[in-house]
Symmetry: C2
Subunit: 247 residues, 2 copies
DNA sequence: ACAAAAGTGTTGCGATTACACCCATGG
DNA sequence: CCATGGGTGTAATCGCAACACTTTTGT
């Protein structure tokens, strides 16, 4: 938002649902709008990270730009999942005023392309280092957000749920080495359901791209868990001879 | 495209991949651009049906509008599947010239929201009744299209393939009553693979929303096939107690 | 020794696959 | 009576779900 006004396309934006996992809960990264704390929309002072795009900017680049500014990371895992373009999605009044004020652009309608993004909380700037107005929120306990951002998150989460059934993208949320338990909890919080640990383990470990490391937890007051890593190359190889449709 | 120029939003369009099924092949509806037959882009004279959207128009309404003009149908089955927004997706030159000329709008970049749509060929206007410049093309033998429309179709088809594995949306492509064989061929052409007819039949008919009718084919030189219909109400009912995630 | 989480196998069931012949009709 | 596609059943296999106890460590 520090860019010259004339470079923005006033009709197009991107919004990012940034998921993170702290080991227990699925988190979403929200921005607190600076000017909005005072008034009646106190309960809508949070929004998704996002921005208008530059006139000649790629949509995905715009999303990467927004996330880079926010987290300091590059090449973030991003997936486009929907477009939100109802003419009234930005209600007249405070939301609109804020947007026009903060972008300096006369806006009559914005279509936003929504991405979800998976990042490792430990790799991104820590809470204190994040831009002062960004913070992680539990996905199950979100405040009422600006614009239609609650529904964008809802839909993004649905798409994430669908996606993890088919592709091992969860690993984007985990540190490079992890225990089976960690992934299981991650699946559980994303799917919103408990999983049987024996069956989960079997299913997970039979995948050739999950590599057992020669390292164990230490300093824990119980049997230490083995560490594993995700081997992306093997995964991509294995996809080649995978038949998709089991009809 | 017969609307006053000033109502268009010059940055936003919708494009529709309209699928149809003639009993043998999966078809896509393409538009022939009027002015473009003469020159070097003779091989790119086809495009997807689509249009810029009005300044205050809903994206999906815009898609419905485009399809209504084209086919005469209302309430067409539509599903948004992606956004295409690379700044260079409309190459400088003929494509751009044509677009600026035909819309009367000065365009520097268009982001298009892509929908796929399923229609019953028999319900839509017949080939002769369709706007003179629209025609059905075999999805496996498409010409080189304008803009990035070939990749839009490709992705739309992928999404359709994914979708029919989970939802009985195929019926949108079939007449109200149909034989098992017809659906099987439809699945086969969408998935691009042969299916065992005994297994297919079992799987299909155990679904409670496929209703056997008291009608048979007549006038065929073999055992006449029974007709079935799709009961949408029963389908929606049955979804309620369906558990999605079989993890 | 105790608490706490890691790790391990088996069995039954339901779903999926593979596969070949008889049936009803029109010509 | 023949050609054509419609319609049917079974057996083997695979994958999934359910389920409880032993192991390893720190305190």
């Amino acid at each position: 938002m520090q860019h010259p006004v004339r470079n923005f396309n006033p009709h197009l934006s991107v919004d990012c649902v940034v998921f993170g996992f702290d080991g227990e809960q699925l988190k979403v990264l929200l921005i607190e709008r600076p000017g909005s704390v005072q008034k009646s929309d106190r309960n809508k002072r949070y929004k998704l990270p996002g921005d208008l795009i530059f006139k000649m900017e790629n949509l995905e680049s715009a999303a990467q730009r927004v996330l880079h500014q926010l987290t300091g990371l590059e090449n973030i895992f991003l997936r486009q999942f929907s477009v939100f373009g109802k003419p009234d999605r930005i209600p007249e009044g405070d939301d609109l005023n804020w947007l026009e004020h903060s972008t300096g652009v006369d806006i009559n309608r914005v279509v936003t392309t929504a991405y979800y993004s998976l990042i490792r909380i430990d790799k991104s700037k820590t809470a204190k280092e994040l831009l002062h107005n960004a913070s992680w929120h539990n996905v199950n306990a979100l405040p009422a957000l600006a614009f239609d951002h609650n529904s964008i998150i809802e839909k993004g989460l649905e798409c994430l749920r669908m996606a993890i059934r088919f592709e091992p993208i969860c690993f984007e949320l985990l540190p490079g080495r992890f225990t089976v338990r960690q992934i299981q909890i991650l699946y559980e919080v994303i799917l919103g359901q408990q999983l049987d640990n024996r069956n989960f383990r079997k299913k997970l470990l039979k995948a050739c791209y999950i590599e057992k490391l020669d390292e164990k937890q230490s300093g824990v007051a119980h049997k230490p868990a083995n560490y594993y890593k995700f081997n992306k190359k093997k995964y991509i190889e294995s996809r080649k001879d995978l038949l998709y449709y089991n009809f």
